[in-house]
């Protein structure tokens, strides 16, 4: 994910801004990290360069 993309994405739940925390970069691209909602505090992982903005109830680890 490119850092500029922060301008176009928001929290899927309350549409507020996301804050980026980079864990790993590769040639300027963010391959691992976390996006955290500035309002509700929900955290969204960046996995293999793809931000996972699925709401928490739709993630694999969500209780069925």
């Amino acid at each position: 994910m490119q850092e500029e993309l922060l301008d176009i994405i928001c929290c899927p739940l309350d549409k507020q801004d996301l804050e980026l925390d980079v864990a790993e970069r590769e040639d300027g691209d963010i391959v691992a990290g976390t996006l955290t909602c500035s309002e509700c505090g929900e955290a969204y992982p960046i996995e293999d360069g793809i931000p996972n903005l699925l709401p928490p109830d739709m993630r694999e680890d969500a209780p069925a």
Binding site: Q2, I8, C11, P12, K15, E47, I50, L53, L54
Partner: protein
């Protein structure tokens, strides 16, 4: 949402394009790409979002034509295929992929010039909710296709692995009303359904396609179409 688990498997994602768009399927691929370009093109410098972008068939094409494209899908394996394709085409600077839910899009209101969803609504359990979300993030165009009731699609539909929701024209019109979208163009095609084109040998596929188009061109002939393309404005 149908397909939610189905498309998560690596082997399904890797085989997706070969299975659907090789051989006679190429005709389908070409027709769908034309439908997209006619509805939203020219796309240069436009912001485009595709819902359920899968392996990036349309997103890569749009990025190659100069659009700034975002592809959203629920499946990581499908998105990984898309990323590889974008890199191979040299458009990865203009094409970004996200994993997300079509019902709760992670984008602000009115952000995109065009929002499209191809082969999505036949899997949708709550179509109005998805249309409303597409409308929210688009400031101009919303484009999607449906598989039709009262067509040959009904005949083989039961055999599909996850079933498929079919729509009548009346149903689509009432969905658009509910989602407050204005229909500006509709095209109807494929009296012979997709599954048939994939099943027959290449040479025969183009012959059938000619007959298919000829029948569609007869007044009222398109009533039998299995696929419809709907171009709407916000």
């Amino acid at each position: 949402m149908k397909g939610q688990e189905w498309y998560q498997a690596d082997e399904i994602a890797e085989a997706y394009e070969d299975k659907r768009f090789s051989g006679g399927g190429r005709l389908i691929d070409r027709r769908e790409k034309r439908a997209v370009l006619e509805a939203i093109g020219p796309v240069e410098d436009k912001r485009v979002l595709e819902i359920a972008c899968g392996t990036g068939r349309f997103t890569v094409m749009l990025a190659e034509r100069g659009a700034d494209v975002v592809g959203l899908d629920i499946s990581t394996p499908m998105l990984q295929q898309g990323r590889e394709k974008a890199r191979a085409a040299g458009v990865d600077e203009h094409l970004q992929f996200f994993r997300g839910d079509a019902g709760r899009l992670p984008f602000p209101d009115d952000h995109f010039d065009a929002v499209l969803a191809m082969r999505f609504f036949h899997l949708a359990d709550t179509p109005v909710a998805y249309l409303e979300e597409m409308r929210r993030v688009s400031k101009d165009i919303v484009f999607f296709d449906t598989f039709n009731r009262f067509s040959a699609r009904s005949i083989y539909n039961w055999a599909l692995p996850m079933g498929s929701r079919l729509y009548s024209r009346w149903e689509v019109n009432s969905l658009l009303d509910e989602a407050d979208l204005e229909l500006v163009g509709a095209n109807h095609d494929f009296i012979v359904p997709y599954g048939f084109y994939r099943a027959i040998p290449d040479g025969l596929a183009s012959a059938f396609r000619s007959v298919d188009r000829a029948v569609s061109a007869i007044p009222g002939g398109d009533r039998l179409s299995s696929v419809s393309y709907w171009e709407c404005r916000v």
